[in-house]
Symmetry: C2
Subunit: 373 residues, 2 copies
Amino acid sequence: MSHPFNVTAQSQTTRARAGELKLVHGTIKTPVFMPVGTLASVKSLSPEELKEAGAQIILGNTYHLYLRPGCEVIDLFSGLHRFMNWDRPILTDSGGFQVFSLAKLTKITEEGAAFQSHIDGSKHLLTPEKSVEVQISLNSDIMMCLDQCIEYPAEKEAVRAALEITTRWAKRCKSTWTEKTGGKNALFGIVQGGMFEDLRRQSAEELGEMDFPGYALGGLSVGEPNQMMYDVAEYALPLLPDNKPKYIMGVGTPEDLVELVARGADMFDCVMPSRNARNGQLFTRNGAINISNARFRTDTGPADPECDCYTCRNYSRAYLRHLYMNRELLAYRLNTLHNIHFYIRLMERMRAAITDGEFDAFRRNFHAHWQAR
Amino acid sequence: MSHPFNVTAQSQTTRARAGELKLVHGTIKTPVFMPVGTLASVKSLSPEELKEAGAQIILGNTYHLYLRPGCEVIDLFSGLHRFMNWDRPILTDSGGFQVFSLAKLTKITEEGAAFQSHIDGSKHLLTPEKSVEVQISLNSDIMMCLDQCIEYPAEKEAVRAALEITTRWAKRCKSTWTEKTGGKNALFGIVQGGMFEDLRRQSAEELGEMDFPGYALGGLSVGEPNQMMYDVAEYALPLLPDNKPKYIMGVGTPEDLVELVARGADMFDCVMPSRNARNGQLFTRNGAINISNARFRTDTGPADPECDCYTCRNYSRAYLRHLYMNRELLAYRLNTLHNIHFYIRLMERMRAAITDGEFDAFRRNFHAHWQAR
């Protein structure tokens, strides 16, 4: 089965582009931001609120859902969608990143990654086949290949070894996917290679030959300087096939999204809007504010006067500050709703600008406001 | 200004009755349950969700709101309604109960209650006049007189002294209310007297002469046996004028509500449905369940098969358990929504039964199911 990606508009002066990607649970318009719903919930929000904010697709985390509630529970609902009451597309990561960052990794072999659960210390082996099988159980619209993500900085030989095992694992993921689903849901390959241009090229070529329905750049936003991330995107995104969606994993700030769309990225996910919301940070076109600031105590205006989200339509900064200072549960919800809305609107504005041939102007305007603070 | 209360139906075999109470922000139908929104938020819920659950009136706490955010903030919004985005009636307590239970009470004199804030230790004096003034600032539809609530058990002379100061404070509350609002918003008197019938009678008579728009029984659910609470309600509710709404403060379980409506109570508030929801307890017609129970791990049915709330329409016990076990913020919200809905529907069912002359049958049926578990 095919997962057609159509580029519907292309900026003439940058690599920014607009597109449409057809998936099992619907067609998504790119560039797109995917809110993160690690444990089958975008923290504090209902599916209806996500839809009202314009979310087209959300993320689930394979590692977390494999451990809790476990596939035997998800299987009772024939996947994640009915379990969590979300009928639009879902992308799941492979679990690899969490095995390397969250679990106690015990051993990496050619076979897979042996780890101990961060919850109860139980022992597990995550193989490429297992990762795809779990994602099939989740019935993800977009599954990701198991990869080996490497930290920054790292020695070139270690980065090369990680990308090469990633390539071999990708082949096994693709075999499992083809055998077990006939390619019904999409499977994306993940390009590694760290901050080395020749290694990114090697990885892109090896994975490109496998003709995945889409490609991601992995191993970014792992501690490298911001400009270095932009540079990698600048040379690595063009190495990916232009007729496939290009996804940068785990990124980033609003500024990052604008700069990476300019370099040709189509898809993003990041915990920043939701996590920062829970820490009182609210995004506006002029930059971020922290609602705990004492100057908002008597501020009767909305969090962002230019925003039309539920939070900004109905509540003042004074009320949001009051809720936040008192750790009221509604605070996390109203803040998260605003930030998710902000991120999604930012993508929609970029898409419109690309379609209208005005992305350059949009980008300049964005930076002029964002820097103003 | 008057706050007409019309009894629209009266059970022939019990004291249960249905009525309508006209308030500044709308007319409420009784018997009614009022969800508690201590800090200008019914924890985890939006005003829209409360309305969908059928909430007609909610509670705010004067003590908490006086300390945070403070009247100078609330005044910028001309009261609590616009501050918290709730346009239906609000009842506020006097702050007295919290001064006695939550704050560090330093001294009670004829003038009022001196206390130190539980937040920062700052010193305050809560007088009857001050309590009403704060509630005027909150623009509550129903304000409560400052009373002295006494613990159980207590010596009769202490109970008598508390009820007598409550009477004197009630006079001062009424004066302030009349002078400053012309009686626009309603002010309720609070009958004390502990578990002593003659003292309840004395209190009811003294307050009855003052002709308040409504009356509450205070000092219940303070540790006394359940049957004792029913007994007090049995003899004290008839002491209150029948043409006024009768409110039992801070009560209770679903069973309590049924038994107290049978004894003539019209209004209730309690943190139980919301607090217990946050502890994983969900109410059903057959009793309460705790969603953390392992048997719900693979239960694909709704929390309560007879319930039509948002939670039960859209989510399984397995999902609710998953969210709760992982301390996902959505858990508190979905659980709270269900319990608030359950309490409000219970009142609606009682009201319908009273109106249809079938309250006895309703009550028997309720207990048959509730005891079944």
